[in-house]
């Protein structure tokens, strides 16, 4: 293998991607090293008393949420990409939006609706009915809330895939005597397994790493164990050990998925694009689709936004909007920069994987997920330790340049770096599925027509990839908007974002004030979505 590399020479692309991968891996290395520290007493305690329960809870949540988001997300994606609907475009944009509501805020919202003296009680009281007790702060409730607000993750990834799926595959199955649903389940679904699994993996990781919602709901999970070891027993090594084992499990699952997928890989489908001609749905299908969409949007969008608006309206006005301009600027500038970095890195890695597929490039593609596979606070520490050691080794240079000691660590750069490696997985997921559908043929045709790599990328690859890139950008941007743990711990002095404002209020049980900023996050996401769909209109595929 190495001989071949030597023979080919190291391409610049390979070198750049390798550097990116090293940057992603480095903080994780600092985490994994701690695996080899001696086993601590608190680890033994956790293992003896609570670990089994916590893992059980985690698994129940992950399983429930995966199934529900998988079904809902795929259903919406398939329906919207293959059938005609009234207001189809509007519905499509609306279905992304629940993504902008962080699950832990949604937890407060649904808590606020169903708790005693909550919104439901008040409404029932108004109409003179007895209060109904729904225990939303339970495992079932957590699955419900997670599912509602994570469905867009699956929807977005699978939709990009379905849109590019050649029509003839579906048609040939129909001609072979399979009806619509058999075609979907026996042909389309197995073909889209990669995209579907990609989306669901994101959902799983999101659920596994959540601490805010499960804490409020009182459901101890694996991440509770991590934080309990760290915060409760001040045993950082133990916490890191738990996080590292979580990371290992995630990596094993991903590698297994990759391995099984490898065999049945979608051969380069002959995508004679059908120009997105959409079919008419049957009556029954129509009813099912409209009812489901309506119910989903009510629960995941209308209801929470109404609740948030109402809460905001009774927020105490005192200091809520202090320094709003700089907060908004911080949020958006960091969001834009991180989104660009995520997209650029995703394209580079995906492109390497497409052009020079090798075992190494496949491993690279999986490593990208590292940053997303452990709770963010742990990653934050890895990044912190990495940066401080870089800063220390550069201290001589800083002396010459008259910079302060921890120049990088105390700048926005560390935050941007950490957010980029954290959300790389999310962006890369969409971009990779875009690349794998696109294949190499247009690239080769362009080269044979005498164009170099850069021209080819700019005028052929990029336009064809645009939908995938846009969905990657949506993911990354909205996620940065609502990101908390990394921003909290790595931010420079006096640096606030919309999400940190939500956190400071919500953590202090000031949900009314927190609502104001939650709504602003949703508002900014809507603006971003509109901007991106505007850009998307420029593409005609």
């Amino acid at each position: 293998m190495f001989a071949r590399f030597k023979e080919r020479g190291l391409s610049p692309l390979f070198v750049i991607v390798t550097l990116i991968i090293v940057a992603i891996v480095l903080p994780s290395v600092f985490i994994f090293i701690r695996l080899f520290h001696p086993v601590t007493e608190s680890w033994l305690h956790i293992k003896e008393y609570v670990l089994a329960d916590y893992i059980h809870n985690s698994l129940v949540l992950v399983a429930g949420v995966s199934v529900i988001t998988g079904i809902l997300g795929t259903f919406f994606a398939w329906s919207l990409s293959k059938y005609q609907w009234r207001f189809g475009l509007l519905l499509e944009s609306l279905l992304f939006l629940p993504m902008a509501i962080p699950p832990y805020i949604a937890g407060y919202v649904y808590g606020g609706i169903f708790t005693p003296f909550g919104t439901l009680d008040r409404i029932l009281n108004q109409v003179g009915k007895e209060p109904i007790r729904v225990d939303i702060l339970s495992k079932g409730g957590a699955i419900f809330v997670f599912s509602l607000f994570l469905t867009p993750d699956v929807f977005l990834v699978t939709k990009v895939f379905f849109e590019k799926l050649p029509k003839n595959i579906e048609e040939s199955s129909r001609l072979l005597g399979r009806n619509q649903s058999a075609t979907f389940f026996r042909v389309i679904l197995p073909m889209s397994r990669g995209a579907l699994v990609g989306g669901i993996v994101l959902v799983m990781l999101e659920v596994l790493n959540d601490y805010g919602l499960v804490r409020y709901f009182g459901i101890p999970t694996f991440s509770t164990a991590i934080y309990q070891t760290w915060f409760g027993m001040s045993d950082v090594d133990g916490a890191v050990r738990l996080a590292a084992s979580l990371m290992s499990i995630v990596i094993i699952i991903l590698l297994m998925e990759q391995f099984f997928r490898g065999r049945g890989r979608l051969s380069q489908a002959r995508a004679i694009s059908d120009g997105g001609i959409k079919k008419r749905a049957s009556k029954v299908y129509k009813v099912v689709f409209y009812v489901l969409t309506f119910v989903y949007l009510s629960l995941a969008l209308i209801l929470p936004i109404t609740q948030l608006v109402w809460w905001s309206s009774i927020a105490k006005q005192t200091n809520v909007m202090r320094r709003f301009g700089s907060i908004l600027f911080n949020t958006i500038s960091v969001g834009v920069i991180v989104t660009i970095l995520v997209v650029v890195c995703g394209i580079l890695i995906g492109n390497l994987n497409r052009l020079n597929p090798s075992i190494l490039s496949k491993i690279y593609a999986r490593i990208v997920i590292l940053g997303y596979s452990v709770p963010a606070s742990i990653i934050a520490i890895g990044v912190l330790v990495t940066f401080i050691s870089v800063d220390r080794s550069l201290s001589g240079l800083y002396g010459i340049l008259d910079l302060k000691n921890l120049f990088l660590t105390s700048s926005k750069f560390i935050l941007i770096f950490a957010l980029t490696i954290r959300f790389m997985a999310i962006g890369f997921n969409s971009i990779e599925s875009g690349f794998s559908k696109m294949g190499k043929k247009h690239y080769e045709a362009s080269k044979l027509l005498g164009r170099d790599e850069w021209y080819t990328f700019r005028y052929v690859d990029f336009p064809i990839l645009k939908p995938a890139i846009i969905s990657a950008a949506i993911f990354a941007f909205v996620d940065v908007l609502k990101e908390l743990p990394l921003t909290l711990i790595l931010r420079p002095f006096n640096f606030d974002t919309l999400a940190t404002r939500v956190f400071t209020y919500a953590g202090d049980e000031m949900i009314h004030e927190a609502s104001v900023y939650s709504l602003i996050i949703i508002g900014v996401s809507i603006v971003a979505l509109i901007l991106l769909s505007f850009i998307r209109k420029g593409t005609r595929i």
Binding site: R8, L448, L449, G450, I541
Partner: protein
Amino acid sequence: MIKLINISFQYDNASTETLKNINLELETGEVLAVVGPSGGGKSTLLRVIAGLEKPKVGEIFLGEKCLCKKGTFVNPEKRGIGMLFQDYALFPHMTVAKNIEYGLIGMNTTERKKRVKEVLGLVNLVEYEKRYPHELSGGQQQRIALARAIAATPKILLLDEPFSNLDTHLLQSVREELFGIIREIGITTIMVTHNPEDATTQADRVIEIVEGIASEKNWTKNNKGFI
């Protein structure tokens, strides 16, 4: 015109060579058909000539120019070779005109427009300039792909299974038409096909590749014999 000397090729993940010691020489304007069972290495041969794959050993010359030998490798975009892909690989986001203009490097706008008109005339699709590929039929797409491949006047044209996507009743007329154009411009052509009839009716010479080994066949109607 084109000369392959001792070309061997092996894929990264394969245990044996896909092409074994291939030697081949073509005169200007000659049409060569490459036949053989699928998986035998026909398409790989085209990809090696195009520069999309790098041979393990061997040399390739196009005219006087060396495309490939030990220590030298000319990238595909520098070779001046036209290729008609099996599934055409038209760029879905560009109009027919843009697709054809794509390979016309170093021409000004008027020249480019003129050349587009010319090649569209050649394939009889002048009025389709503004269409997108998905708005065309399979046969039309193929002719556009051909127009694109020959627009920049390559020295040699490679055809990868050019008729596999066409309905049988169309096959003959399309084939006639395609080779009418090829003969008209007199371009040196290598065509990979699984259909012996393509070879016998249109080619000057035929080689068969089986398990990576090439052998010349004496099949053609207008057989000019061995060189």
